[in-house]
């Protein structure tokens, strides 16, 4: 392995990913409400299906998996242990209940009722119960999920991000919820952090703060759920495995996620530095999503069908109604 060898094999693919991500950022910057990740995956998908991946770019494009995992490591900087504690015991209990119960509910519905495959069920469960696309990506890497499954799960979550961003503020107004009640409700029921904050602040500044704190606290459970999924899947696929086997199969980048979370919460990093790490993580995700899009073929998407959308809709209805009732009684 020489430097010239690496340059020759990696640079063309990396250039393709970079140009795709750059165009995605330009398009999403020009059109409001378009997220760079969505544009990245669509761009990759269109290019991949129209022209395929040139042989010369193959190895570089394949490095998108490394970008995904590195992006997840840096996502650790977004974990806010302080927010988790400051949310208070009632909200904390509600968060643990919705994440734990939500994962089990969606897994049960998807596998038991709709016969959706295990990988897709777990990705949807993580996305809907923890933190949207970031959770889909993180759990997807833990399970080494196929590109098509990962993209379809992420797309499903993004569809609901758009719908809930419109529906939740209207429902909050209609139900006459207080700022705290609405903020916590959005924080525990909606999927991705951006739409949660946007919905909260569209109600009132106080609701926005509650929504953000609740959502960040919920996001903090990502590491624990990822480790649990890793252990469950390894044990299932290999039978009764020992600690050494578990360690061998354990996705090591999760350790990086925890380490970065510890560094970010130790007070070493300033708010600006944490924000810079989040931006780098977003750029790595954009590069990775171009690569994901490039590796997906239309025929793979057709196999998935509409069942995942119905399952996520059912999950959202159950979780949002139950949490609304609990919030109205306790807050």
């Amino acid at each position: 392995m020489t430097i010239s060898n690496v340059m020759r094999t990696q640079v063309p693919g990396l250039a393709l990913l970079s140009i795709g991500a750059l165009i995605a950022y330009l398009i999403s910057g020009a059109v409001d409400s378009l997220q760079p990740l969505v544009v990245s995956v669509i761009l990759g998908f269109v290019i991949g299906n129209l022209f395929g991946i040139p042989d010369i770019a193959g190895p570089g494009v394949n490095s998108h998996k490394l970008f995904l995992e590195t992006g997840i490591v840096l996502l650790g900087a977004a974990v806010a242990i302080g927010e988790l504690i400051s949310a208070g015991p009632t909200v904390l209990g509600l968060i643990v209940l919705t994440v734990g119960g939500g994962v089990l509910l969606l897994e049960g519905l998807a596998r038991g009722l709709f016969r959706i495959d295990n990988e897709m069920s777990s990705l949807l469960a993580a996305g809907a119960s923890i933190c949207g696309v970031s959770a889909v990506v993180a759990i997807g890497r833990v399970l080494d999920a196929r590109g098509a499954t990962l993209t379809f799960a992420a797309a499903t979550i993004l569809i609901f991000d758009a719908i809930t961003l419109v529906v939740f503020p209207i429902a909050g107004e209609w139900l006459n919820l207080s700022a705290r009640q609405f903020g916590v409700w959005a924080g525990v029921s909606m999927f991705s952090t951006g739409p949660v904050a946007a919905a909260g602040f569209s109600h009132s500044p106080e609701a926005g703060q509650w929504a953000t704190v609740t959502k960040l606290a919920r996001n903090s459970l990502l590491g624990g759920v990822a480790v649990a999924y890793s252990v469950v899947y390894t044990t299932k696929s290999r039978g009764n495995v020992g600690v050494s086997k578990l360690w061998k199969e354990f996705p090591k980048f999760l350790l990086g996620f925890v380490l970065v979370a510890v560094i970010a919460n130790s007070g070493l990093l300033s708010t600006t530095a944490i924000s810079l790490l989040n931006q780098i993580s977003d750029v790595l995700f954009a590069l990775a999503f171009v690569g994901l899009g490039l590796s997906i073929r239309v025929r793979e998407m057709r196999r998935v069908g509409s069942a995942p959308i119905i399952v996520v809709l059912l999950h959202l209805l159950v979780v949002s109604v139950l949490t609304l009732l609990i919030i109205q009684i306790t807050l």
Binding site: T2, V73, K252, F253, V260, A273, L277
Partner: protein
């Protein structure tokens, strides 16, 4: 002695760092890369470069 592949490439002087990197599990690669970026951001913060 110089090692050459069939297409004439000289492979007698491989980079040890690159060989180590490419033999690593991808999870470890991501962990190291993530930590390296975090350390660089820390250095940037403490030297007021950003």
């Amino acid at each position: 002695m110089t090692d050459r592949t069939t297409d004439g490439e000289d492979t007698s002087n491989p980079s040890l760092v690159l060989s180590y990197w490419y033999n690593l599990d991808r999870g470890w690669q991501a962990l190291y890369l993530g930590l390296l970026i975090t350390i660089i951001v820390l250095i940037i913060q403490f030297t007021n470069l950003y």
